[in-house]
């Protein structure tokens, strides 16, 4: 339960940063927090109390492993997160280059 609450708090912190912060970089940091929170949660889903890490060192060893699939999935999610963060950062840099500001509320040429 503790982990779930932690996850929830992290998600809320991430969303809060994304929604209320006006600085591009802080928004991106908000995304990082949100992403980590969800990855954290995903990794926890496979957790079993008292189980081993899912590494097989011999052919017929102990069978009490935690679920390895979430970890694989989280790894994939991290890769995707890497791509999005990189892309977002490059947008932020380019936006700064064009607008000379990091304030998203001042970047509002598209409206109506």
């Amino acid at each position: 339960m503790f982990f779930f609450i932690t996850t929830l708090i992290l998600i809320i912190i991430g969303l809060y940063a994304i929604v209320t912060k006006t600085n591009l970089i802080r928004i991106i940091i908000g995304f990082a927090i949100l992403e980590y929170a969800i990855n954290f949660f995903f990794a926890l889903v496979g957790f079993k109390k008292g189980a081993l890490a899912p590494i097989i060192t011999q052919v017929d060893g102990p069978k009490n492993f935690v679920d390895p699939i979430p970890q694989a999935l989280v790894l994939t999610a991290i890769v995707i997160g890497l791509a999005t963060t990189a892309l977002m950062l490059s947008f932020a840099i380019k936006l700064y280059q064009k607008h000379k500001t990091f304030d998203i509320t001042k970047i509002k040429e598209l409206k109506g």
Binding site: L34, F41, L73, A83, T84, H99, I107, L110
Partner: protein, 495 residues
């Protein structure tokens, strides 16, 4: 040999072949991209023959049996989406050949183009929910990059905003997947369907449903979640706008939503009326606001982008009504709108190519010099506003029939009225851009652009006249797939 993986593997391979081979000769990028989209078009129509073996075609990636490995599932609903994607992508890639003269990064463009195709195709045929997420992300990230492709002020701004909202949606999708996995310990959609239908519907079930709806509502730009779309779609290069508006939002938003809600969650209007009422409500609000804000626009492409919101609303209303004809109408509208809206965006590309302008007040009298473009636009307008015999007529008819059958007469009346609104805002462009007796001297668009527009026009007319065949071979089976509900799970896993 089963050709199913080719749908996403070919464009994926193309995406990585293009940067290497175009170092040798620049023309390879055009060549590869266009030949791949052509192959996809043929494959997608050819794949209809596969259904002789059965209603559902299951492809086990790497030979792993369904609940363990990643499965690809190809049924009529997927076929409908795949065909729509193939058509739009084919037209857009032909159009791109000359359109990209204005841009520098032709190679990067085609790489991203292939990636977005691969992502959409993957979403359409995957049978694994995490795989769905991965393909959604492949398509989304390429779309963010494509929106920003012009790297001017507006494009970057649009791309950033789009990305912020799109990523919120993607992360919530991941969150929902995590919750689902925590509950059912499986990622296979069929297995998930079986597990969920056995277990009851508790708080967690609805929590996940709400998160998924939120996520896909953003992806499909339903009304309060739409605000990225009018920025993002016009900012992209015209062929990309055609893809984004024509098919992208429908694959990532509508298709994924209906696949999950009908086939995995087993929601029906009978057992979960609130969910479907929300869909109807969101759809109606989108139709209304999309329509009226569209008629206020001065920008050619922005008007079309708002129109997309309205038309997605139509699809959603059809899905939300949830009986046979309404769903058939919604699904048919996916195809019809894919053709017409991409055609409309391609005409905008032709206008931009010829004049360099998008502002309706500055454009005038192009009807004389750009005959094919003007006629394509007019026909697409008539189709989108639902005039027979063009293809756009039937979806709206079916949706209205569905509304009447569900005894939602007010809805039927509203939809009929709002259809006329469609006419109102699309006619604005005809009036401003193609009419007026003012003499201008813009050249007609290049041959390849005209070819791609003609291709879509011909399809529009062909599907309009041959709607019966289309209905029987594609739409009705696809509707049956949805109405089959969680029978989807049993069909794939057996038992």
């Amino acid at each position: 040999m089963n050709l199913l993986p080719l749908f996403f593997a070919l464009p994926l391979a193309g995406a990585f072949l293009i940067p290497i081979l175009s170092k040798i000769w620049r023309g390879f990028s055009d060549l590869i991209a266009n030949s791949i989209t052509t192959i996809l078009l043929f494959l997608s129509f050819y794949s209809l023959n596969l259904f002789e073996e059965g209603e559902v075609i299951i492809y086990k990636m790497g030979g792993w049996p369904p609940p363990l490995g990643i499965t690809m599932v190809y049924d009529h609903l997927s076929a409908l989406i795949v065909i729509s994607i193939a058509i739009v992508v084919f037209a857009a890639s032909i159009f791109s050949i000359r359109y990209l003269e204005h841009f520098t990064g032709r190679v990067k463009f085609y790489t991203l183009f292939m990636l977005i195709t691969a992502g959409m195709m993957g979403v359409a045929i995957t049978g694994d929910i995490f795989n769905l997420f991965v393909f959604v992300e492949i398509a989304s990230i390429s779309s963010y990059a494509l929106v920003a492709f012009g790297i001017e002020k507006e494009e970057l701004e649009a791309a950033f905003k789009y990305m912020v909202m799109g990523e919120i949606a993607s992360l919530f999708l991941l969150f929902a997947i995590a919750l689902l996995y925590g509950r059912a310990s499986t990622l296979n959609m069929a297995d998930l369907a079986n597990t969920l239908s056995v277990a009851g519907r508790d708080q967690l079930f609805w929590f996940v449903a709400a998160i998924l709806l939120f996520s896909f509502a953003i992806k499909s730009a339903l009304f309060p979640f739409h605000s990225w779309l009018p920025d993002a779609h016009p900012s992209a290069p015209a062929p990309v706008s055609a893809i984004l508006s024509g098919i992208f939002v429908k694959v990532l938003g509508v298709y994924a939503l209906i696949r999950l809600s009908f086939n995995v969650f087993g929601l029906t209007p009978q057992n979960s009326p609130i969910f479907f009422h929300i869909l109807i409500f969101l759809g109606l609000v989108s139709v209304f606001f999309g329509g009226i804000i569209a008629s206020r626009q001065r920008d050619y492409k922005r008007l079309l982008a708002y129109s997309t919101i309205a038309q997605i609303g139509f699809i959603m209303v059809g899905i939300g009504i949830g009986n046979f004809w309404a769903i058939a109408g919604g699904l048919f509208h996916i195809l019809a709108h894919a053709i017409t809206k991409s055609l409309l965006f391609l005409t905008s590309g032709a206008v931009v190519y010829a004049t360099g302008k998008r502002d309706l007040e500055e454009l005038a009298g192009l009807g004389k010099t750009m005959g094919i473009t003007a006629w394509s636009y007019r026909l697409a307008t008539l189709s989108l506003s639902g005039l027979p015999p063009l293809v756009g007529f039937f979806p709206k008819l079916f949706i209205i029939i569905g509304a009447c059958q569900a005894k939602l007469y007010w809805l039927a009346i509203l939809l009929a009225i709002l259809s006329v609104f469609t006419l109102a805002y699309l006619l604005k462009i005809i009036r401003k851009v193609y009419f007026t007796t003012k003499e201008v001297s813009t050249p007609e668009t290049p041959f390849s652009m005209r070819l791609s527009m003609l291709f879509l026009v011909i399809l529009m007319i062909l599907f309009g006249f041959g709607f019966q065949g289309l209905l029987n071979s594609l739409i009705i089976p696809a509707t049956k797939v949805l109405l089959n509900g969680t029978g989807y799970g049993r069909a794939i896993l057996g038992g």
